[in-house]
Symmetry: C2
Subunit: 196 residues, 2 copies
DNA sequence: CGAAAGTGCTACATTGATGTGACAGAAGAA
DNA sequence: TTCTTCTGTCACATCAATGTAGCACTTTCG
C-alpha cells in the first residue's frame, strides 16, 4: 500500500494541503478532465507525492472531489428548505446556494460512475429536487405538461452556465438571472406559453 | 511523414471509412474526451493504422471532427435564413437544424483551441447568431435588458441538453421544447417577466 | 481483368502519466 | 524544545497511448 492512513489527529498544514488539492483539482479537472495529478499538485503548490499520500489513485481523488461537491450540494438543499419555505423563496435560495457551490466545485457530473455510494447520493439529491419541482408545479409556479424531468435537467444546466458565463457577477445577481430565465425564458412577455 | 496525402481521386471505401471515423469519433469523444484513437478505430470498424493514414495526429483528427460540425452548423444557419425569414420561423428552423447536427456531431466546443482558422469560423457563426438574436429583440420576440450574450449562450446549451435528455423524440418535438423553454421558460404563465 | 489505391496486421520506439519506495528535513503539537 | 507527523526530492517500475514502418492482401475503378 502506498498512501498512509492518517488515522490520528490531522495536522493543520495537512488539512490545508488536502483542501488545496481538492479545490484546485476540481477547478482543473472541470477545465480539462485529462489534467495530470502532477499538474494539479503543482497548481496547488504541493508535490505530486503528497497527493498520492492522501489518495491511493487518481480515481480516488476524483471521487473525493465529487464527494466534496455532493456534500456542499446537500447543504445547499437543506438550507433551501424545500418543504417549509414558500416555493418561490426556496427556489431562489436553492439556486443561489448551488451557484456558490459551482464556483468552488465546478465539477462535471457526467463521467462519474466510480463509487456506488456516491451515485446513490447523487440520485437521492436529484430526486429531492425533482420532488420540490413537482411541488412547484402543484402550487402553480411551474407549468405542468412538460416532458418528464425536463425542468430538473434544465435547472442545473442554467446554474452551471451562469457561473461560466458571468463569473464576475455576485451570486445574488446570478441567481436572479437563472430563476428569471428558468421561469420566464428570454422571450418578451405577452404571448402565452404554448400548452402543447 | 506517416500519413499519406490522398491528392488524387478518393476511393469509395476510403470515403466511407473517413466518414465512419469522423462520426464515431465525434460520438465517442463527446462521451469521453480521453477516448483513445484505438478505441475509436475499433468502434468504427477500422484499423488504428487507417486513422493515422488520414490524420497525422490525434489533434488533427479532433480538428477534422470539429470542422465537420462547423460545416454542418454553417448549413444550419444558412437554411434558417436569419435575414429574410420571419424571426419566429427562422428561430425554430435554426433550432431544429442544430438539433439534427447535435445528433451526429455532439462535439464539446469548450476545449478546442488548436486551429486558428477553425476558431475564427466558430466566432463568425457565434456572431451571426448573436446578430439574429438582436434582430429578435428589435422585433419584440425577445426581451431586452438581459445580460449581454446571455441568450446566445443559453440557446446552444438548450439544444445540447434536449438531445442528451430525450434522444428518442423527433427533431421537431425537440425543437418545440427548446424554443418554448427558450422563450417562456418552464414557469406558469400569468406573472410578468421581471424587468430587472 | 488488371493496375492503383487503400486496408489489416504485426511489430517497434517513444513519451507522458501513474503509482511506489526511501530518507532527510520542515512544520506543527505537546 | 522535543517528539511526531507530514512534506519535498530523487529514483524506479509500469502501463497505456501515440506515432511509424513494411508487407501481404483486398477493394475499387477504368
Amino acid at each position: 500500500m502506498s498512501h498512509d492512513d492518517y488515522t490520528g489527529v490531522v495536522r493543520a498544514d495537512a488539512a490545508r494541503n488536502v483542501e488545496a488539492v481538492l479545490t484546485t483539482g476540481a477547478r482543473m479537472l472541470a477545465a480539462d478532465p485529462g489534467a495530470s495529478i502532477a499538474s494539479i499538485a503543482a497548481e496547488a503548490g504541493v508535490d505530486r507525492r503528497t497527493v498520492y499520500r492522501r489518495f491511493a489513485s487518481r480515481e480516488e481523488l476524483e471521487a473525493a472531489i465529487f464527494e466534496a461537491r455532493l456534500e456542499a450540494i446537500g447543504k445547499a438543499i437543506e438550507d433551501a428548505r424545500f418543504q417549509e419555505a414558500p416555493v418561490a423563496v426556496a427556489l431562489h435560495r436553492y439556486v443561489e446556494n448551488v451557484i456558490a457551490v459551482n464556483r468552488t466545485w465546478p465539477v462535471d457530473f457526467s463521467r462519474m460512475f466510480a463509487d456506488e455510494e456516491i451515485l446513490r447520493r447523487r440520485n437521492l439529491y436529484y430526486a429531492e429536487v425533482g420532488a420540490f419541482l413537482q411541488r412547484a408545479v402543484d402550487e402553480g409556479l411551474l407549468r405542468p405538461g412538460l416532458p418528464a424531468d425536463w425542468a430538473n435537467q434544465l435547472l442545473p444546466e442554467l446554474m452551471q452556465l451562469v457561473v461560466r458565463h458571468m463569473p464576475e457577477a455576485s451570486n445574488g445577481q446570478m441567481a436572479d438571472v437563472v430563476v428569471d430565465t428558468f421561469l420566464h425564458g428570454v422571450g418578451a412577455p405577452g404571448q402565452a406559453a404554448a400548452a402543447r
